[in-house]
């Protein structure tokens, strides 16, 4: 790999995102002809461009809430579940596991969301459940993979030093699995930002609302505002997760993989 200065690599993303946001804001703000403003406000049932601004900000905050709460649930469920799955050596469990992973990967998010609503109605927690269900897979899978990836020779050496099974897990396996688990968390976060745009179909709100309003009312400016904001949010969160991946991995492991 050619060396790009670290500062450039680290801060290129937020700078680009900030520029894109400014461009978006200016472009939308220029929609000053009465027709367009009316259309914007019509779409929202609001009376001014300012009201639209706050509408977008509300949707953004709601989006972040969907992503944030689901992410916490995903971590609390995915990592322990992944650990439990590595503690068993039963063939049936690992077969079952592979089945769940491949079916889960193949299941369309939107189908799962709508099915949840069909079963549980439009309850407030349904979007969180749907998002969590969907994003838990990569975290669980990477936890399993990360732990299985640990050199058996190291585990053996640790057992030989007198580590108990629990100590092997907490002091050897989990620390060594951290890079792979973190990359699963990063995948999950990006997935969450993306799938949260679909929450609009099950009354979950978020930036999907803005996109959907734009599509339904054929107002491209509204659609673009929602879509570009969601995309920039995804890029930004991916960047933050990337930083975490980089700086939270154990120091002794860094530099082993690019």
């Amino acid at each position: 790999m050619t060396r790009v200065p670290t500062a450039v690599r680290l801060f290129a993303t937020p700078v680009v995102v900030a520029i894109a946001l400014v461009v978006l804001y200016v472009a939308i703000g220029k929609q000053t002809d009465p027709l367009s403003v009316t259309a914007l406000t019509d779409a929202e049932g609001a009376t001014s461009a300012h009201a639209f601004d706050s509408k977008v900000i509300d949707a953004l905050l709601r989006h972040l809430r969907l992503v944030g709460i689901s992410a916490v649930l995903v971590l609390l469920i995915g990592i322990p579940l992944g650990i439990v799955l590595t503690r068993t050596r039963s063939k049936i469990v690992s077969l079952l596991l592979n089945g769940i992973f491949s079916a889960g990967q193949a299941a369309p998010v939107i189908g799962v969301f709508v099915l949840l609503v069909a079963i549980f109605d439009l309850k407030g927690w349904v979007p969180y459940a749907g998002l969590t269900l969907y994003a838990v897979l990569p975290v669980m899978r990477n936890t399993v993979e990360g732990i299985r990836n640990v050199d058996p020779g190291l585990v053996d050496a640790a057992r030989g030093q007198g580590f108990s099974r629990a100590q092997v897990l907490t002091r050897v396996e989990l620390p060594l699995a951290v890079p792979i688990i973190l990359s699963g968390v990063r995948t999950a976060l990006v997935l969450l930002v993306g799938t949260a745009t679909l929450a609009t179909f099950i009354n979950g709100g978020g930036l999907g609302n803005i996109i959907n309003d734009g599509i339904k009312n054929q107002r491209d400016a509204v659609l673009l505002t929602g879509a570009v904001t969601a995309a920039l949010l995804a890029v930004l969160i991916d960047w933050i997760a990337g930083l975490a991946e980089r700086y939270m991995s154990p120091k002794g492991l860094r530099g082993e993989s690019a």
Partner: protein
């Protein structure tokens, strides 16, 4: 560093009557007694280890040597219960190992593996301090012990403590591995082909240092290898194993070389048994030649007088710590009293007092000098070994008639024997994996 000669004699520090529990607190070596130990893996027709009985005396290095797959590692791993025996008993200091908690047992048995097995996310210091921390030692005691260990294995604490394993060479990693195993001063050390992955030069050096360390610490060491030369060099006793870990022959290395019990052992020793026996004689066993030597501060007149008195042509120039620097010829001394560090020939290699004659001969042959200076632990000059001293030792060995037997062409080649065992190895490995799947190791 205390001189090796001041190390406490083993008789004062160990005794077969001492139990492991007592030894745990003192670090004194204990005896290990394996009684009819057997390991059967489910689904495998033959046991991996069959009816293995052996007493490993306290404070000695016992080497299990045999082709890969013969069960030597499995046998060793039953001592710290990484493999649970399916039959027989293992007494450690007279106590049944099966009655101790496995984790507790392992914390008091040092364990060194090939590739060192260091935890890559921990620093060298953290790796070394692993077991003392598991045992809940006080912070001061751990720090003090670490300093001792860095010195013991010859690593500079300031330089290496904060490094991560991947920043170390293979040899350095294995030094850390040994330090980690010795950290809690365990009475027993198990070593599973620890030097197998190292280059020959590093391996040689670490072997010699292990012997040096053993003189200081006097542990009961069980060492597994497939390299007969390593076994002969390191072992107080060598146990040659064949398939299913059956003992082909056990005894002091000299005896194994001089009187191989059967065809198998003879084939395993291979050719050049007499030369191999040079592994058993060390430089310190010889009477070293007192070649004239001088430091730069000494006057030339003195050294020339010494040279004339000794009737030799060469003298050694030492540095201020008495480490050999250059060979100087009488002519060079007489003519140019100016700068001795620029005349003569640089000393290309030295041997330690603990170096075997085999390695000393290697050194002489590779430097092409026929003489090599011997030095002590600190590198200070002791005397000189000559090639004819080595050949004399070789002749002494050759005059023992039994030695010739060992040199005779084996009827069955080693390749034939190991080929047979390789097939078994595959079986055994499959069985091991099957057992691992069913959660065999306690």
């Amino acid at each position: 560093m205390p001189d090796t000669s001041t190390a406490v004699p083993s008789s004062d520090r160990s005794g077969a009557t001492q139990t492991l529990r007592e030894a745990m607190s003192t670090g004194n070596a204990v005896e290990i007694d394996l009684q009819s130990v057997t390991k059967r893996y489910p689904g495998s027709p033959n046991p991996a280890v069959e009816d293995f009985s052996l007493t490993i005396p306290a404070g000695q290095i016992v080497v299990f040597v045999g082709p890969s797959g013969c069960g030597k590692t499995t046998t060793m791993r039953m001592i710290n219960r990484l493999v649970r025996p399916t039959g027989g008993r293992i007494l450690i200091g007279g106590e049944d190992a099966a009655e101790m908690k496995p984790d507790d047992l392992r914390r008091h048995i040092g364990y060194v593996v090939q590739q060192a097995g260091l935890l890559p996310h921990l620093t060298v210091r953290q790796n070394i301090e692993t077991v003392p921390r598991l045992l809940g030692w006080k912070r001061d005691r751990i720090a003090e012990r670490s300093t001792e260990l860095f010195e013991l294995v010859g690593l500079d604490e300031g330089e290496f403590a904060g490094r991560f394993p991947r920043e170390l060479s293979g040899g350095q990693q294995q030094r850390v591995g040994v330090a980690r195993a010795l950290a809690a001063d365990p009475p027993i050390l198990l070593m599973d082909e620890p030097f197998g992955a190292l280059d020959p030069i590093t391996r040689d050096r670490l072997q010699s240092e292990l012997l040096k360390i053993q003189r200081r610490v006097r542990k009961t060491i069980v060492f597994v290898t497939h390299d007969i030369d390593e076994a002969i060099k390191l072992g107080d006793r060598v146990v040659v194993l064949k398939e299913r870990s059956r003992i082909a022959q056990a005894g002091p290395p000299d005896e194994i070389l001089a009187e191989p019990a059967d065809r198998y052992v003879r084939a395993f020793i291979g050719g050049g048994a007499a030369v191999k026996r040079l592994h058993l004689v060390r430089v310190e066993d010889l009477e070293l030649e007192p070649y004239p030597a001088f430091t730069q501060g000494e006057g030339y007149d003195t050294i020339i007088r010494q040279l004339q008195a000794s009737q030799r042509d060469y003298a050694l120039l030492l540095d201020d710590q008495r480490r050999p620097q250059r060979w100087l010829h009488t002519d060079e001394l007489g003519d140019r009293p100016g700068q001795p560090q620029h005349v003569g020939q640089a000393v290309s290699g030295v041997v330690m007092a603990t170096t075997t004659l085999h390695d000393a001969m290697d050194e002489m042959l590779s430097s092409g000098t026929g003489v090599v200076p011997a030095v002590d632990d600190r590198g200070a000059y002791l005397g000189v070994v000559r090639l004819d001293q080595v050949t004399a030792a070789l002749e002494a060995i050759h005059t023992k008639p039994v030695a010739e037997q060992a040199d005779a062409t084996p009827v069955q080649t080693l390749a034939e024997i190991t080929g047979e065992i390789d097939r078994r190895e595959i079986e055994a490995e499959q069985a091991r994996q099957a057992a691992a799947m069913s959660g065999d190791d306690a």
